[in-house]
Symmetry: C2
Subunit: 354 residues, 2 copies
């Protein structure tokens, strides 16, 4: 029974997704249940894999239901093929549970493209939302921010960008706890013609309308790690590349630090002395605590975990889904969107590219 009718939250899990499947997803669920005893889990997947792991977690066992299917979606499966041939897959059945009202949300560590394609088809978008976006919380110098789109849409017209700004603002407010979140539109600053037409047009709309967020203006790439704004809005192509490049640079920095500490006997002694300080720093930016790509804009909560994470990381993705339900994110988005659409001139003729 969904959240709205009880104080239970039911999370549907595609247990087969990710590099290690049930060995990560089941221990992750057990961990989340310790923190939130009001969760009930629907565990979709091959029960011959699920049951042996589940038997190690008696509390989870008594707060979950195993729904067996021998089929799963591989990481290399094309989304279009997954849509056609994956109707009995653990991923698809787990999504169906949300559209059927048996679960409040679905979490998977599987194939991103397939998950997005299936979730879009089964759950559909919220009323008046044109496209879903992949959003993620990121650590910055100035606290946590939310960035979207991270790969669901190659290009976005101005209205879609405005809707993403609204999704991000509502998230930063209702889940992130920020009173009036600031919104930045990602752009470049070095040229006379500053940015695409759709960016200029989105900026014009955001300056005019009123909603949960406050439009800050255009920001540049280095504003993201500085935390200049609470919400960063961009198209999925740029967002995906920028995020992956940032992750790569962060990993490289960590590697260089490790190499420096190993490069001499003095540095090694220094490493021993500084060990606790560096552990604290690492914990602060541990990617596992930022795991969970939210598919915002869908009429149902769907969260994608990194495929290569561990149980702690998967538990964080579950937590992300839990928070979206607990804070009634989708209900608040629907309400804000309705108000926004009623504001004069939202669909004015200066919206380009629609």
């Amino acid at each position: 029974m969904p959240h709205s009718q009880t104080n239970k939250i039911t999370i549907s899990i595609d247990t087969m997704g990710g590099d290690q499947g049930v060995n990560i997803t089941i221990p992750g669920a057990a961990r989340t249940l310790e923190k939130h005893p009001n969760i009930h889990f629907l565990l979709f997947g091959d029960e011959s894999y699920i049951r042996p792991v589940l038997s190690r977690y008696p509390n989870l066992k008594s707060n979950s239901e195993v729904i067996h299917t021998p089929h799963s979606i591989s990481n290399t499966e094309k989304p279009s093929v997954a849509l056609r041939k994956g109707r009995e897959s653990s991923m698809r059945l787990a999504i169906n549970a949300v559209s059927d009202g048996r679960a409040d949300c679905i979490v998977s560590a599987g194939n991103t493209g397939a998950l997005m394609a299936m979730a879009k088809m089964v759950l559909k978008c919220l009323p008046d939302i044109r496209r879903p976006a992949i959003a993620s919380v990121l650590p910055t110098h100035d606290g946590e921010i939310v960035m979207l789109d991270l790969g669901a849409n190659l290009s976005c017209d101005s209205e879609v960008l405005v809707q993403f700004a609204l999704l991000g603002a509502v998230y930063a407010k209702v889940v992130g706890g920020k009173e009036t979140p600031t919104i930045g539109l990602l752009n470049i600053g070095s040229e006379d013609i500053k940015g695409h037409e759709e960016l200029k047009s989105a900026a014009a709309i955001l300056e005019r309308v009123s909603f949960s967020g406050k439009y800050h203006g255009f920001i540049e790439g280095d504003d993201i790690p500085m935390g200049t704004t609470d919400v960063v809005v961009t198209d999925g192509f740029t967002g995906n590349i920028a995020l992956k490049m940032a992750e790569g640079v962060a990993n490289l920095s960590a590697l260089y630090t490790k190499e420096a500490f190993k490069s001499s006997i003095f540095a090694m002694m220094g490493a021993l002395l500084a060990k606790r300080a560096f552990s604290r720093m690492k914990a602060k930016i541990d990617p596992r605590f930022y795991n969970g790509g939210m598919f915002l804009g869908l009429d149902g909560v769907c969260v994608k975990s990194h495929g290569g994470t561990d149980a702690i990381g998967f538990a964080n993705a579950l937590e992300v889904a839990y928070n979206l339900i607990e804070n009634e994110f989708n209900e608040k988005v629907a309400q804000e969107l309705k108000e926004l659409m009623n504001q004069e001139s939202f669909f004015a003729s200066d919206i380009e590219g629609v």
Copy 2:
């Protein structure tokens, strides 16, 4: 007299550009002259600023010529305004020196947009090159790579992307010393439709034609810091945002390391012991040694220094320009391009968006 007729290389400098103008550009030139005594400098700018600094560098003084102008382009000047009103500016006169044949190349730490606009107008593109790109050498886990475009073109059709691939490949070969440089087209991998039409079409051309580089395929954001390919090709919007985000993350990592070393008495002792190891690491990725954005594709060498760099960084930008001239980059591009254009089906009908 230009390089082709003597063994001297003449570098034209806009001495007024950058946050600190002559206090950086003149000492930077002096530093480069020590390394390359065959350079002659043309120093454009306000002589009341230039002369006092220049008098401290007698060797530079005797190997340079001061060309006085009281006008300069501010960092906030719009490129279109700079084009119209900046005809007597140090930046414009320094560029003119290249088109007049008085200098081999021009280096400025000034307004990027204005420099690109003026350089494009005055120098024009190499024959058959449709658009110039901003390119930069970047440090990666697997050695140095070259990435372009970093902000000259908001969007690029497939032919322009192929030309950028060629520019990058020739650079990696003749300046970077790589026998057969590998080329990656920056894309995202999570969706069924992997990338824009122009990327698919550019990939099809790069798979077919033969030139200095070897086409590797699509790469993702994290491939850049890993150094997966020697050349990274992308449009200027994506490239600019990805690079700035990467710079921001690198700065943030450095800041976190600093904070960790200061966070306890043990960590501070550790810092003392590891100091030399970290200095070596920092030297390896010192942004000053990667300073110098090359405007590739122009019929004349133009290099943009970061405005906020110091004399060491500005000297590196001069070195970048020197290497392009010394290795006859433009001559080799022109030759390769001619061969490429002669290859059957380069302008086949499957080139989209041209």
